[in-house]
Symmetry: C2
Subunit: 223 residues, 2 copies
């Protein structure tokens, strides 16, 4: 078989990454639905996606490696390929975190003695769009949009602290709520981590577009 | 300035990665000491390492990118460079997790009303050597040693489950222990994640040595 043309492989890399992005975003939505609605079938949907997400991760890595090995790309193309590799890893981790949330929802369904109210739905409403926006920034090669994702992360951290304090207070007040609150706490932690991975993707986009590495320098860009 | 020779840059990549490995392992040890001994100065040591670890991460990524861009490596060298990039990311994440553990130790020092006994020291005893062994496998290009790291991960998961059940039981029994138990739970979770990152490093080593991608196929290699 002949080696395909460089641009075709680049296009395939981009398309597979977007396909993976769609799968991962669907997994987040389903996992949040499972958590908020104690919805067993939504949890099962998340688990069923794992195989496809893992397969895509390996395919994307394979295409990136092939591009690096056979085509010896330079400058902008090289930055695109290395950014694609980072985005790929972060999307796979987001998929894992959606599975973690779905697992917590199953534990909730098993153990919930009574409803525990939290701001986790609001946390999900903040985290999900960050992943979407980071991938939009990637598609449009838009560093400004990527920077907007980085700024959104502060609101996540504040809300996470509030959710944690609230859950700890409820556990102290009612020992029957402990298992439920622990499940919700780890689900909140997973949502926070999803937002962190969205910022990693956004940083990879800024690097791809501008050649500037923003990691460990959030303070400088958010002022 | 003239471009340095390929082999020199490869050697620099390896040395910086090992330097980062040393820093990260020291951070794990200090964070565990902070946690187990409620040792404020050990926690501070972990926080002080963050800058060096972050700086090394960027330097290593920079060298890897330079090697890919200027030297157009093939086959074994390319696999070494891509493995180095993955090991680098995983070491940086381990450094972050050590910081999380140190932060939990600070919360423990602030809030501990009474001692809570757990198997977390044992979890640390299992997780720490996995990072060391994964890096040894990298240095020696030893896929057999890397596979031993993958097998060690099962014991971690079992112990983590036991630690979690025990902490939930203690929280239910004594509401005053809630904050302490939550801190210990997240510290246990961080140790488990450190072990996960050690397995990621081990997988990268197997890929580097044998060109075989083990991700998402643990079952097949541990039989």
């Amino acid at each position: 078989m002949m080696a395909r043309h460089f641009d075709e492989l680049l296009e395939e890399l981009r398309n597979k990454l977007l396909e993976m992005g769609e799968l991962v975003q669907a997994a987040i939505r389903e996992s949040v639905r499972a958590l908020e609605g104690a919805d067993e079938s939504a949890a099962q949907s998340v688990f069923r996606r794992e195989g496809d997400i893992n397969r895509l991760e390996l395919e994307i890595d394979g295409i990136a490696t092939k591009l690096l090995a056979l085509e010896q790309p330079v400058a902008g193309d090289l930055r695109f390929i290395t950014a694609a590799g980072k985005i790929n890893n972060n999307l796979e981790r987001i998929g894992d975190l959606a599975i973690n949330i779905a697992e917590r929802s199953e534990s909730l369904i098993q153990n919930r003695h009574f409803a525990v109210r939290t701001d986790i739905p609001r946390l999900a409403e903040l985290a999900e769009p960050m992943v979407h926006q980071a991938l939009e920034a990637f598609v449009k090669k838009d560093a400004t949009e990527a920077r907007a994702v980085l700024r959104a992360d502060d609101a996540i951290d504040d809300l996470r602290d509030a959710v944690f304090s609230d859950l700890i207070r409820q556990m102290k007040t009612n020992s029957q709520s402990v298992q439920t609150c622990v499940d919700l706490m780890f689900a909140a932690r997973s949502l926070e981590r999803i937002a962190d991975h969205a910022t990693n993707i956004a940083e990879a986009v800024v690097f791809m577009v501008e050649g500037v590495d923003l990691r460990h320098h959030h303070a400088e860009i958010s002022g």
